[in-house]
């Protein structure tokens, strides 16, 4: 409180002494242009009074009344080199600005409203413009970042409409517990990671990621995982510009399961049954007795001997994505505005079976976006921003799971669990077919037709207002600002469902020639039930106030920043069992920053945040998070400038700092212990009766606090050969300490449950490389090539694990996402092999193992294969990620494309290879190359009868390196092909400009080692049953009015 008062007093004092200095000077006017004509929205201001400025209108004209005596004005425009002009002798000034080929004047967005020029930047920062983002037609914003930004890792797990946003990290993972998602800031206000995928790409001006301590330290307790800063578009002075954009995309799955036909599968089944010493003719008479099998071959009896590819039966060939955007921007010197309306529709891949039922149960997503950004400049020293935005989404899903006994239809399709020969879709009389056994999967068409839907709505509104007051009357270069942001999040669901026991589907009994309902004694369809619930109510409030200073003294530049901020969020998680998890949650703190530059050559940056979070006990809430960074523009030194002429720019920089992360994976107040009643009591009495119990909880640890990351970064930025080639290289080393960990190495004789302590340590090291080459061929062809590569490798240094008998079982010393499984050691090739190879603890030879079963390596050397032989086999998170993009433009045409890849990780590709864990499943081509005595040498798949020991029973108890393979991939991620009609043509249509374009997302996998049709970014386990990832082929037309 005291601190607030001090700052307030200072502020009042500053403001009160205002406005005694205004002077009257002469008025100058003129036109600003570049080599192609007048330049709107360029800014002109007095060097002496930087707040005395105007911007040019749409004809490049301006008028400015001077206040100072020096008579020097500065002309600036983004993408151009700024110029200083002495106007002491002129009243009319016409200036032609030169394009900034070096990009060094380019403004880099930093946190808490700060920006800096690229040349004076000392931190590790990457950014991507809104234009580049809009080249990717993916619905989720973060999907457009993959491969574009060095240091950005992402894994897109699903393609489901409304849920296709990728998981992402900056510079990989640095902790094994707690949050790894970066802090996400949209226009100075934090949003949660699931909201980033709701942002309309059309609103985005720029996305910047802050990667090292010198840039993230201002966020103190929240900066350790890096920060993503998204700025939205704002209006510029000039006449209103209207843009209308309509895009239609065709979505198709990137991968689909490839399966064998029914006849082939049945032949494999017969082999499997023989391997189990059962007689196929008696156990599966429907398939194998008489001429049944022949019917499956000839397909002459599609009802009793069906051959169905369920994927084809339930899926559309293509589904539609539609996006419409309308934006207006413009303004004058007092008010500027940017207003955007967006609509997105993503259709689902299932056929519309439920259409005749009067409702839509298909997957779909609808999103409405609204944003209005208004800048008001009531006078020359005050700037006010008022931003309102809203995002409203509707996600629809079929009510899949009850009918499927808990699985999703996609899970069964991927895993090949829907038999192609068990039942047809419909019986000849039109009744829907299915199976009544709990061991086989029911007809998915009945499900999609009758089960109803689950629909969820998310509504999200935020208002951000801020004001910036120049305080030049106190001292030039000083300004004060306040920010108040409010956002609210409300989501609810509305479901229309039918009980799975009340859905009519039929089996056919050939003996009685009758159709029997799958649910006994059900002869009518049950009623639909409507239900709804509110799922989340959240309020977020952020207030910030600060002082800013930036001034040149000759060759010296000094800047400073001091601010207070506070964020309060209150959540009512309706129906959640852990109410305390999201109780009022407050963060507040003070941030200060000083930067100094000498002649833009020697740079020094000091940052410190004193920052606290009430997730911790009152004495453990605050800490200092300091950072220091230095830079040296070596290219400015004469020994480089004079001798190495090909070097245009050469900067070396280094940063070291400490950042924190309060998302440590606990609930608020986790530091206290609470005795809870109702926990396992006792039963007494000759007529047993329950009596409630009470237990000592996990012991408290009032010392729980955030984890900290010591972050070192060193980098080089270069521009070479007339700025054609840019190079950025970064090396980083992060040491995350105080990771919240429950001690494992503690005797159980202790008798209680220990609380977690801040004791874990993880090291994360790596480098980033970013190369861009940009050039022109002749006057008309411009082209560029960009490649970037990031390597990040983490290692758990300490985590107080329980004792393991063998080192290979411990996570310590291995990557955070280490996978521990058996090691595949070929197939059992001979009886001698079966008897002499290490024994499976759970098996007796001959009764459960077969020739051709998967053999495991006895890593412990004790002659027994048991859980101790499940050792480290690899890492599930890629160590390398990179992108390669290139493109060129010729007159109105522009073409660009992006390839993205991730390397050095393993995934489980068992999907679809589960054939014969149960008889009534499909098989995949891979199964054909199974082990048989004849094919013993060349087999790539184990024999078919064993299941658990081969690891394909789905239980995971015997997964091995046979199933975990390298997930490395290269993906053709994006392309865009556009044509802007010549203005002569568009004028005829009475519009300013027309552009037509086609672009694509996830166009195909160029390289993968996976032998089955699994997307290499899929989740680790197969039970996920994810919606297939989507390829989007998109056509758009854009009108500027």
């Amino acid at each position: 409180m005291k601190k607030y008062i001090k700052i307030l007093a200072l502020f009042v004092a500053l403001v009160a002494s205002h406005s005694a200095f205004a002077q009257v000077g002469k008025t100058i006017s003129g036109t600003i242009s570049d080599n192609s004509g007048p330049l709107p929205a360029a800014t002109i201001f007095e060097k002496e009074f930087t707040n005395n400025g105007v911007s040019t209108d749409e004809n490049g004209k301006f008028k400015l009344k001077l206040r100072g005596q020096q008579g020097i004005i500065v002309v600036k425009s983004i993408g151009y080199l700024s110029q200083e002009i002495n106007v002491s002798t002129k009243t009319i000034v016409n200036v032609s600005l030169k394009e900034d080929a070096t990009g060094l004047e380019e403004v880099v967005v930093l946190g808490v409203g700060q920006t800096t020029k690229k040349i004076t930047l000392t931190g590790a920062v990457s950014s991507i413009s809104g234009t580049q983002i809009r080249q990717s037609p993916s619905a989720s914003l973060q999907n457009s970042l993959a491969g574009r930004l060095p240091g950005f890792f992402s894994q897109q797990r699903s393609g489901q409409p409304g849920k296709d946003g990728a998981d992402f990290q900056i510079r990989g993972i640095s902790t094994y517990s707690g949050g790894t998602t970066p802090l996400i800031i949209v226009d100075d206000v934090e949003v949660t990671s699931d909201q980033i995928s709701l942002i309309d790409q059309n609103e985005v001006e720029n996305v910047t990621i802050l990667k090292d301590a010198s840039t993230t330290a201002v966020y103190g307790v929240r900066g350790a995982n890096g920060v993503i800063i998204i700025t939205t578009r704002r209006g510029a002075s000039g006449k209103p510009t209207l843009n209308f954009k309509n895009e239609t995309g065709l979505q198709t799955p990137t991968q689909r399961p490839v399966i064998n036909d029914g006849y082939t599968t049945l032949n494999l089944l017969r082999e499997r049954l023989a391997g189990l010493y059962t007689n196929p003719l008696t156990s599966y008479a429907d398939y194998f007795s008489g001429d049944n099998l022949q019917h499956y071959l000839t397909n002459d009896d599609p009802y009793n001997h069906p051959n169905i590819n369920w994927w084809d039966e339930v899926m559309k060939k293509v589904s539609i994505q539609n996006r419409i955007n309308f934006d207006i921007s413009g303004g004058n010197n007092t008010v500027k505005y940017f207003v955007n309306l967006g609509y997105l529709y993503q259709g689902g891949l299932f056929k519309d079976f439920s259409e005749d039922q009067g409702y839509n149960s298909n997957y779909l997503y609808n999103r409405y976006n609204f944003r209005s950004n208004i800048d008001i400049t009531p006078n020359k020293s005050l700037k006010i921003k008022i931003d309102l935005s809203g995002r409203f989404g509707v996600t629809n899903e079929p009510n899949d799971k009850p009918w499927n006994n808990g699985g999703t239809t996609f899970q069964y399709l991927w895993n090949g669990e829907l038999s192609s020969f068990l039942y047809p879709i419909y019986w000849p009389n039109g009744l829907i077919a299915s199976s009544s056994s709990s061991l086989t999967k029911p007809n998915p068409v009945a499900n999609l037709m009758y089960s109803g839907y689950n629909r969820s709505y998310g509504n999200n509104i935020s208002a951000v207002t801020s004001a910036n007051q120049q305080l030049d009357f106190i001292t030039p270069g000083l300004s004060a600002n306040v920010l108040l942001a409010f956002s609210t999040d409300y989501s609810f669901s509305s479901n229309l469902t039918r009980n799975s026991n009340e859905i009519l589907a039929y089996t056919y009994d050939p003996a009685t020639q009758r159709y029997n309902p799958v649910t006994a004694n059900l002869y009518r369809m049950g009623a639909l039930t409507r239900s709804s619930s509110s799922t989340l109510t959240k309020k977020n409030l952020n207030i910030r106030a600060g002082l800013n200073y930036n001034r040149d003294f000759g060759k010296h530049n000094i800047g400073g920043l001091a601010l207070i901020n506070r964020t309060t969020s209150t959540v009512l998680p309706v129906g959640a069992s852990t109410v305390t998890l999201l109780d009022p949650y407050n963060i507040q703190g003070f941030t200060g920053k000083i930067n100094y530059a000498y002649n833009q050559k020697y740079l020094l940056d000091l940052t410190a945040a004193y920052n606290g979070s009430d997730r911790f006990e009152s004495t453990k809430r605050y800490k200092w998070f300091p950072a220091v960074s230095v830079g040296w523009n070596l290219g400015e030194e004469s020994f480089v400038k004079d001798n190495l002429k090909f070097i245009d720019f050469f900067k070396i920089r280094a940063a070291y700092g400490i950042t924190g992360n309060d998302n440590i994976g606990t609930t608020t107040f986790a530091y206290q212990k609470t005795y809870t009643t109702g926990a396992s009591g006792a039963i007494f009495g000759e007529t047993p009766q329950s009596y409630s119990g009470i237990i000592e909880p996990t012991l408290g640890n009032t010392n729980i606090t955030w984890m900290t990351t010591e972050d070192f970064n060193a980098g080089i930025d270069m521009k070479l050969f007339n700025n054609k080639l840019s190079v950025t290289v970064d090396y980083f080393r992060k040491l995350t300490k105080d990771i919240l960990t429950t001690p494992g190495l503690i005797p159980s004789s202790f008798g209680g449950a220990l609380p977690p302590y801040n004791l874990g340590r993880v090291q994360n090291r790596g480098y980033e490389l970013d190369l861009t080459y940009r050039d022109k061929i002749g006057d008309n062809i411009e082209f560029f090539v960009n490649s970037n590569l990031t390597f990040a490798k983490n290692k758990v240094l300490y985590r107080d694990e329980p004792a393991y008998l063998y080192d290979g079982l411990a996570l310590t010393g291995k990557p955070v996402s280490a996978v521990f499984q058996y090691t595949y050691d070929g197939f059992y090739q001979s009886l001698a092999d079966l008897y002499t190879a290490p024994r499976l603890a759970a098996s007796t030879p001959l009764s459960s193992l077969q020739l051709g079963s998967v053999k495991y390596k006895d890593l412990t050397g004790d002659g027994i294969i048991n859980a101790n032989d499940k050792q480290y086999i690899g890492n599930n998170n890629p160590n390398y990620t990179g992108g390669l993009s290139f493109g060129f433009s010729y007159k109105g045409f522009d073409i660009s494309t992006l390839f993205q890849g991730s390397f050095d990780y393993i995934i489980n590709m068992n999907r679809g290879a589960f054939a014969y864990a149960r008889a009534d499943r499909v098989s995949v081509p891979w199964n054909l190359n199974r082990w048989t005595p004849v094919n013993a040498e060349n087999a790539t798949f184990p024999e078919l009868s064993g299941s658990a020991q081969n690891g394909f029973d789905g239980s995971g108890s015997y997964w091995s390196t046979f199933w975990f393979v390298k997930g490395d991939y290269i993906r053709w991620k994006n392309f865009e092909l556009g044509y802007r009609f010549p203005s002569s043509f568009s004028k005829k249509l009475h519009v300013n400009n027309i552009r037509v374009y086609a672009n694509g997302y996830n166009m195909g996998i160029v390289y993968t080692k996976l032998p089955t049709s699994v997307d290499p970014e899929s989740a680790l386990t197969s039970s996920a049953g994810e919606y297939p990832q989507q390829r989007v082929f998109n056509f758009g037309v854009q009108f500027g009015l």
Binding site: L382, A545, D583, S680, G685, E686, I694, G744, F750, P755
Partner: protein, 584 residues
């Protein structure tokens, strides 16, 4: 200009004022601490009693508790139906310091800690009910003694931590006490607690009412003492065969028996038959028609011990509300409700062969009348009360464990549907024999101590201490006569009597978690758990069944180390003074 500044000022000022207003508490006010549990104002001790209730839930609970299997599926009486089930690690040499299926080390030390917290704090509560506080304390000490006994029977001597409640930051560096020291501690605790415990007619510590059933009474404390002293006198813990140990074990058992005769306790062998189990018609094929009616009564009588929530035989139960979990875990897989977890326990041929003919002769003995083509005919009534064999009536039909039958569809050697690996399923504890296809809920209290054990404890200890005197005969014959089996022949030698007692324990207590420990304390596991365990293969040809004894699984037991469990690896590493058991 000025007005903007004023507006800005007001905005800024109010913002800051807002920021200072506290909307969240400095401390979590909703948490409840230990003074809420042991409340110095609570004369009824409501929460303190709840704390004690929770300790009761830590008593040994029996049934299918080890990966859905019963403990005895790790001994020679049964095997699990799934090849990989962990309980078999006890019989296939799969256990190691990091892989102990019945690892109750942590559970029992948790109970000990809870008792210590209870004892340290209960005096704060101004309990207003006469005798209650002392009884609660005594019960808590018995529960702690029970926990120590559970520990030492697995691991031998363990660290004794007395009344200490460890603090989170404390380093635990404590040595193991010896088996003898632990036993002495347990006995001292039991003796100290006994005067304050409930007895049937003791009015000092509150009248025993029916809703106290399930609490640790004085009889339970004496029964625990009896079992402890028997274990202490057994070959595993008494290598010199010190006869005084047997004598004190006999005395401890005798003390319980004498208490019964002095009518302080009301324990007795359960002698009432519940007809809900079997009717005459259902068991017709098992005995000659002349003895059918009494045979059915005897089977029902035996099953009734386990199908009622309370009866006079049960000294200490693990209490449960009525349920059907035992049935759904162990029923033959051919019944329509069968699920993947059914049919778990498969009794071995070795156990089945142990049951005598109704004439009291072993099946291999001359004159026994055993017929290999009708192997289940005229057997000890406890066989149909313990094992579900081919043709035994159950839920509206006869069990079909012949190859291809409903309960063994894939036949011998296959476990495709979770069918039995031995040709048998478990019958004991399964209560409902109704015609329904779904189970209704029945009482399933697990008998931790029952009176029959006291009698056999006495017989065993007395036989070792003093030889097969009359009191030995009468103790063992009481158990045999209860189910209509003839008394033992007179004139047995001490060794012959020892065999008879061991036989009786095996058939009487099958699946009650006795055999698993008995083969260890008698040090016979090396004989009975090495080699092959057998099952039966029944084949049906033209309406004629033939039975053949077949191999079920191979077992191995390393006598050099497996008589004691390995100390969990983490204990050995994290407690510097902890010594591992020999050869682990």
């Amino acid at each position: 200009m000025k007005k903007y500044i004023i507006v800005g000022l007001i905005a800024f000022f109010s913002t800051i004022m807002w920021g200072c207003k506290k909307l969240s508490e400095d401390l979590p006010l909703e948490v409840t601490g230990i003074d809420y549990v042991f409340d110095s104002k609570d004369s009824l001790g409501v929460n303190a009693e709840r704390f004690l209730n929770n300790i009761y839930s830590g008593l040994p609970n029996g049934y299918n508790r080890i990966g859905n299997n019963i403990l005895d599926a790790g001994a020679d009486d049964a095997i699990p139906n799934a090849v990989g089930d962990v309980v078999q690690y006890f019989s296939n040499n799969g256990i190691s310091p990091s892989n102990i299926p019945d690892n109750v080390w942590a559970k029992n030390y948790e109970n000990i800690r809870k008792v210590n917290i209870f004892l340290a704090n209960i005096d704060v509560v101004p309990l207003n009910l006469p005798g209650y506080k002392n009884r609660w304390k005594a019960e808590a000490r018995c529960l702690r003694a029970m926990s120590y006994f559970e520990l030492i029977k697995r691991w031998g001597g363990v660290p004794l931590i007395g009344n200490k409640v460890y603090d989170a930051a404390e380093t635990i560096d404590i040595q193991r006490s010896t088996y003898q020291q632990c036993s002495d501690y347990i006995i001292a605790e039991l003796d100290a607690a006994m005067p304050f415990l409930l007895t049937a007619n003791n009015s000092v510590n509150g009248t025993f009412t029916s809703n106290f059933y399930g609490r640790f009474g004085r009889g339970a404390a004496m029964a625990l003492k009896s079992r402890l002293l028997l274990y202490l006198a057994s070959p595993l813990n008494n290598p010199t065969n010190d006869a005084t140990k047997w004598a004190s074990a006999a005395a401890a058992a005798k003390a319980v028996m004498d208490s019964v005769s002095a009518t302080k306790f009301t324990y007795a062998l359960q002698n009432a038959a519940t007809t809900a189990h079997y009717t005459n018609a259902q068991l017709t094929p098992l005995v000659p028609s002349a003895s059918l009616s009494s045979y059915v009564t005897n089977v029902n009588k035996f099953l009734s011990i386990f199908s009622t929530a309370s009866n006079n035989e049960i000294i200490l139960p693990y209490m449960a509300t009525t349920n059907s979990t035992v049935e759904s875990a162990n029923d033959p897989i051919g019944y329509t409700r069968a699920i993947a977890t059914a049919g778990k326990t498969n009794p071995t041929q070795e156990l089945v062969d142990e049951y005598e003919m109704t004439n009291g002769k072993q099946i291999g003995e001359s004159g026994s009348g055993y017929d290999e083509t009708k192997p289940y005919y005229n057997r000890d009534p406890r066989l149909p009360g313990t094992v579900m064999f081919d043709g035994l009536y159950w839920l509206n039909r006869n069990v079909q464990t012949y190859d291809g039958g409903l309960d063994r569809p894939f036949g011998y050697g296959r476990v495709t549907k979770g069918e039995t690996r031995t040709g048998y399923y478990m019958r004991k504890f399964m209560t409902s024999n109704s015609s329904a296809t779904a189970y209704s809920n029945y009482p399933h209290v697990f008998p931790i101590f029952r009176y029959a054990e006291i009698l056999l404890n006495y017989a065993e200890a007395q036989n070792e201490a003093a030889g097969p005197d009359n009191s030995v005969y009468s103790a063992i014959n009481a158990i045999r006569n209860r189910v209509g089996m003839p008394g033992l022949p007179a004139g047995l030698t001490q060794a012959q009597m020892r065999d008879k007692i061991r036989h009786e324990r095996r058939v009487e207590f099958a699946f009650e978690e006795h055999r698993f420990w008995d083969i260890r304390r008698w040090k016979i596991a090396g004989n009975v758990l090495n080699g092959t365990l057998h099952g039966i293969q029944a084949t049906l040809n033209n309406g004629v069944k033939t039975y053949k004894v077949v191999d079920a699984t191979t077992v191995m037991f390393d006598v050099n180390k497996m008589y004691l469990f390995p100390i969990p690896l983490n204990e050995v590493i994290s407690n510097k003074s902890m010594a591992q058991n020999p050869n682990w």
